[in-house]
């Protein structure tokens, strides 16, 4: 009997990232892309924003949001490339490149947040 695949790991990160992006991304766009620029709600002050971002919980949230979002994108990219360009035989290479790029992004995120 062949072994169960370790695909569970990237897939669960993909699922969690998909949830984060689908749920929270529209809120960010609505707030900072539409409502605030249109003046429909008052723009936060720079010091207020800074205080918010400096809070450890906000940083934790931003880390989860960016890291999971990146891993989600990497998984999607891996399958899009392998299926659309018929590169199934290069799946391992694609995985290394896609998740590798995402992990670089995660490292940059950590660097920015710390």
């Amino acid at each position: 009997m062949a072994r169960r695949s370790a695909e569970s790991l990237p897939w669960s990160l993909f699922g969690a990232g998909g949830f984060m992006v689908a749920f929270f991304f529209p809120i960010h766009i609505l707030l900072f892309g539409i409502l605030i620029p249109l003046g429909l709600i008052a723009a936060p002050t720079h010091t207020g924003m800074l205080a918010l971002v400096n809070h450890p919980l906000t940083r934790l949230y931003l880390f989860g949001f960016c890291a999971l979002g990146l891993l989600h994108a990497a998984h999607r990219l891996r399958f899009t490339l392998s299926d659309m360009l018929r590169l199934k035989h290069l799946d391992t290479l694609l995985g290394v490149l896609a998740y590798g790029a995402a992990l670089v992004g995660v490292a940059v995120t950590i660097d920015l947040l710390i």
Binding site: M1, A2, S5, E7, S8, W11, D83
Partner: protein, 247 residues
């Protein structure tokens, strides 16, 4: 209403023909005739060499699946009149080797179906029941939709992932595998997960969902595959946290 309609039927004998070709046949357009009736008319009246499978003519045996004007259909349930003014192009199911004309070789599916153990498994040593198993309507409802699969393999023909990677276990086998896991009499979920959680089990699926769209019995194989991904992932993390203990 027109009184005739043209069918363009894919013809192919792998031993003789280099390429499949289409032969055109004009058939009477009779109200309530299905595409399968037209094919039978062709075989009986016009060209006895046209080859296709069918049996029940009532959408239950699952043998008359073909691609009609580009879509997977049970031809015994597909009205000729829906395709007016024609022509109607009838082709064999995709992704399977053609044996002749509209008949495909289902060996690959049969092998996969057997691999997922679509039967009730009782644990060795489980006490022999002294009477029939009782199942409540709620317990039946758990697996009912998956049990409606008739193995017509329209879903394999519609699945682009199976087309790209024939190792993929595929929609119907996944749905039927889950059907037994969800059955209150069954104890074989672990054994089936061993098969489904392998690399060529459910992981190739990218949730395109065409399988569930084409299913003539309204089974949702796409959902079954996602359920399996969740079970496999739960088991994987459990095993990570408690190696050996959770399996």
């Amino acid at each position: 209403m027109a009184d005739k309609i043209t069918l363009e039927v894919a013809r192919y004998s792998p031993e003789q023909d280099g390429e499949p070709r289409f032969d055109r046949y004009e058939v009477p357009l009779i109200e309530n005739w299905m595409v399968l009736d037209a094919l039978n008319y062709i075989k009986d009246q016009l060209d006895g060499t046209v080859t296709f499978r069918w049996s029940c003519r009532m959408g239950i045996c699952g043998s008359c699946g073909m691609v009609v004007n580009g879509h997977e259909r049970l031809t015994c349930e597909t009205l000729l009149a829906d395709y007016l003014p024609g022509p109607i192009r009838v082709e064999p199911l995709r992704h399977f080797p053609v044996m002749r004309d509209l008949v495909v070789d289902l060996s690959d599916f049969m092998e996969k179906l057997e691999r997922v153990k679509p039967w009730i498994i009782r644990q060795p040593g489980a006490p022999e029941p002294s009477r029939e198993f009782i199942q409540t309507p709620e317990q039946l409802a758990e697996y009912k939709q998956y049990s409606l699969c008739i193995n017509c393999v329209l879903c394999y023909s519609a699945c682009p992932v199976y087309g790209l990677d024939p190792h993929f276990i595929g929609p119907a086998a996944s749905a039927l595998s889950l059907r037994y896991n969800l059955d209150s009499r069954d104890q074989g979920a672990e054994q089936r997960l061993d098969v489904m959680a392998q690399h060529d089990g459910v992981w190739d699926c990218t949730v395109i969902g065409e399988c569930s769209v084409v299913c003539p019995k309204h089974v949702d194989p796409s959902l079954a595959i996602q359920e399996y991904k969740i079970s496999a992932t739960k088991a994987w993390f459990k095993n990570l946290l408690m190696p050996g203990g959770g399996k």
